[in-house]
Symmetry: C2
Subunit: 152 residues, 2 copies
DNA sequence: TCGATTTTGATAATCGTTTTCAATATTGAA
DNA sequence: TTCAATATTGAAAACGATTATCAAAATCGA
């Protein structure tokens, strides 16, 4: 992520909390900083483990609360990939969908405009006003397919 | 559902339990009969309410256990439409995906072979071995769109 | 019928997530 | 800077869907 984009996201976050009349705190700053730091699909637990390395006192609930704020401001997306725990990723500029490896849990992102167009066509046919969608393809990634083939 | 298909499903169910060395019970028969009775996307709670009208003594856990048996035998599919509670539908002969109304919770089913083909193409491109997928389109059905338009 | 085995319903346990609450931190005004 | 109003925190309890436990009851082949 570029420095400019990084700053822009911080600005969006700060505008969101100020507009809700909230206060800024050290804990939230650590969590947001860490969340913006890299693009992965993290569980709350995983993010909590990371922020704890910076401030070991930060509570589990605060991570939940901060992720809710980030989701509200459109900076985070909550995902449910058929696991018990939800995952959060930080929002990209373009919509994308996911391939999910059932063996190693690797997540591959993809965009496909043709599919999106066809989805809209399906909706139009049913006079359905589309808001958002979820498309997840489950199977085995290249590495895990190879392992399975060799009976590992 | 035709009478023949109905009987065929019962046969599959009975074969499944006999092959697992299980016994047949009145409670399960009531639950399976009710589940096969119509094609809806039911929560456990909703199915429990229905079977209770036939036998008020049937327990919640037995409904869960029977739905697990039906899922194992391929006669039921568990769905998670972004609600807390899972829904179960009885298996159709063809794969299909769903439009989900965010207002009235109506569920519309559709099939689109073009999309399925494109999904396979995406997987091939990533050398990904596809097992199954989830595609859910969320928005507003015709009726609810109209209501929203009129500010209701 | 009998006895081994499965099933049942009630209830407790589990697990991710949300709420509660008293102590603490932030903030704008004086 | 001091103050008071208000938001925030972390720990723990509550929540809600689902699963596990268990003793009593039902099934079923011999
Ligand atoms: Mn992603
Ligand atoms: Mn369906
Ligand atoms: Zn893999
Ligand atoms: Zn609707």
């Amino acid at each position: 992520m570029t420095q400019d984009l990084f700053k822009e996201k911080w600005a969006i976050y700060e505008q969101h909390i100020s507009q809700k009349g909230l206060k800024s705190t050290r804990q939230r700053d650590v969590i947001v900083e860490e969340f913006f730091g890299e693009h992965e699909h993290l569980t709350v637990e995983e993010l909590w483990q990371r922020v704890r390395k910076i401030d070991s006192k930060i509570g589990y609930a605060t991570v939940y609360r901060t992720l809710k704020l980030l989701s509200e401001s459109g900076l985070a997306h909550k995902r449910q990939f058929g696991e018990a725990q939800a995952r959060f990723e930080h929002a990209t500029d373009h919509h994308h969908d996911h391939l999910i490896c059932m063996s190693c849990h690797q997540i591959i992102e993809f965009e496909n405009d043709e599919i999106e167009t066809l989805q809209e066509r399906v909706c139009k046919k049913h006079k359905f006003q589309l808001v958002h969608h979820k498309m997840e393809l489950y199977g085995y990634c290249e590495k895990c397919s190879a392992k399975k083939g060799r009976g590992i």
